[in-house]
Symmetry: C2
Amino acid sequence: MSNNQIDLLIKNATIVTMNPALEIHQPGALAIKGDTITAVGPEKELSPLESTAREILDAQGGAVLPGLINTHTHAAMTLFRGLADDLPLKTWLEEIIFPAESRFVNPDSVYWGSLLACAEMILSGTTTFADGYFCMDGSVKAMDESGMRGVLGQGVVDFPAPGIPDPTANISEALRFVEKWGGFSSRIEPGIFCHSPYTCSPDTIRTVKEICRGEQVLFFIHAAETLEEVSLIKSRYGKTPIRHLDNLRILDPQTVIAHAIYVDSEEIELLAQTRTAVAHCPESNMKLASGIAPVVEMLNKGVLVGLGTDGCASNNDLDLLKEMDTAAKLGKVRYLDPTVMDARTVLRMATIEGARVLGLEKEIGSIEIGKKADIIFLDLNRPHLIPCYDPFSLMVYSAQGSDVHSVMIEGRMVMENRKILTFDIDEVMDQVIRISRGIISGE
Amino acid sequence: MSNNQIDLLIKNATIVTMNPALEIHQPGALAIKGDTITAVGPEKELSPLESTAREILDAQGGAVLPGLINTHTHAAMTLFRGLADDLPLKTWLEEIIFPAESRFVNPDSVYWGSLLACAEMILSGTTTFADGYFCMDGSVKAMDESGMRGVLGQGVVDFPAPGIPDPTANISEALRFVEKWGGFSSRIEPGIFCHSPYTCSPDTIRTVKEICRGEQVLFFIHAAETLEEVSLIKSRYGKTPIRHLDNLRILDPQTVIAHAIYVDSEEIELLAQTRTAVAHCPESNMKLASGIAPVVEMLNKGVLVGLGTDGCASNNDLDLLKEMDTAAKLGKVRYLDPTVMDARTVLRMATIEGARVLGLEKEIGSIEIGKKADIIFLDLNRPHLIPCYDPFSLMVYSAQGSDVHSVMIEGRMVMENRKILTFDIDEVMDQVIRISRGIISGE
């Protein structure tokens, strides 16, 4: 009898399961025991569980979805949100962002900046993210305290970086990071973020990938993001970025390529065959004027594509509901075809496909029995969400981050009625404002 | 002494004036007497007014901006939000939208649908909008009750339309509408929305424009929106849509062209010379896969361009803060240049340039002495709005509709702390849900 007891029964919900059949239960119910989903279905079918539930939560007709998954960001870059917009890419990166990073990025600022990012993501329905930056011990601490889930990649570049003044120590620092945090938490996995083929030598890239294989962690890299990069890599190595990475034997299911804008059909085949994952970041690609990724060709050829917001210096927010809307619309206008990047496809990218990108599809990405209880609750009783003809359309084209009222990760409520429960958001905002004053004054 | 008395002094605000110098007062203050702004400037300069103010409002460091201006929408189409997404344009329009409109659009549904749109717009910081639809008496009633400002265009097409079963009565109905509502309210101006060059004959277009000239009201038309339209108009009249309209002598400062995607450089010159206004609707253009308007060329050549959300069947929201973000990003990626469509330019499009598009620049569009007190208040103390290095960037790239906490139109608070004061939003939502049930059941 005690085995049948459940901790929480959520009822009277519009459950968008994102299971393979894309079932919606309306009214639906959902049972949770500990950190795990133990039942999901039409409310009627689950009503016998009411007597065994410790707690019953009436979702009042609201939407319940799997937590959204951000497959590419640089969380601590909230520190630089809006610092340098509307500038040429080279000026932005070399004159503003790199110098600011070298002076102001340290374990303390990464911790506070990442915690601010966690707040923003939780408040807009993201429960899992893949991060790549420097001084990543601070990011681990932030993710752990926030209750969020994710993969955190310590950054590697071949020049001095925050926390790694000696570039010859870049790889050993990444190895230290992975060894330190492996097994630390059921929610947190370390990885390595090899910045790009233009900031990392072939030797660096190969060595880092070997470490990742040995440690069984994910390898992240920016690639094929800009035309400048393509011509630089071609001139250096006689190959386009994706072919260059293929030549270095980097492409495999444990590699995540951010952007992948400049990929021809042969390279798309290569990504599909090697089951290399792509993090599509449409808003960053638009704002930095990088280009528009051929997402529809990638999907048609079977490439695994998730969604990412990229960092706040190039977006400037971490709102995946907004990113879904943009991803759908940008795809349609790129192909002059309103039927592509439909709402179901895009919502899959932000949930179950994102989970697959991060190798977490057995744990998260859909509301199914046996998966972790990472779920978000949206209030549908809002002017901009009425009427509701199709919950998928409503989520992708009309819902906003602020419609998410509660967030559960691994069975634990981290936000309830817009109040973050896991940390003091006011303190985080104060600390980031303190850091930003230093950045403004240059001190 | 009584002449110097003011009704309201707003202090401790970050005032983004959108005046010609784009001044920001931080901390700033703003004085209002009746419906009019009587003083604005740094808080210190206005502090002597504190003793004469009936009421003092502490904005607590929040942002105060001119109300946003939506230069193109079909407000009542909230009724069809999400009814038919991800479909080919022809199927969407001819198989779903037109039949639904012919059955379910009437003065009652237009009233409720428009009032829902007003709620959504107020909640996201829009104070003025240009509407074009049918049964527009219902839209006038909704705008009047909501306290919003705008120009409402009665629709004209050459086939049976909602409220006009006999298409030969389309123009007389529009004339009746304009005559009925001219002078009705200081906030509401009637106009005529001649649907498009492909649904209106040259005679219809010419006659409607003559009526608009006689009545001194705005003439709205969709034009150069899709490649299909361009080839249809070329095959019918031997000219591209803009040249066709020029040939009909439609182009002048009292004409607003929605979309203007397919315009060559000669046509852009023509729009600039005739001072014809353009309503740029990037999200609709993306979602319907129409194309990307050459906004930067238009701006460079001096064409007056405002922003529009278009209707909820093709966006699917009415949030101008989101539309600004998309407009900036889409422009950058179209030209592969991150410096174009900068935050200041885009915020101007959504405020003072929008006012110019609607011929209302003497009344609204900026926070300046003598203008109407149409202003919005945003809470900046939010995780996604921290830090603030540049208020323009923050508004365009990071702010969300839900950051708007209060809205004043013509000196009257229509929303305070997210609560709409002018009408019962719960009743409106109930009524739209009732109408949507009929649409779903087809009854």
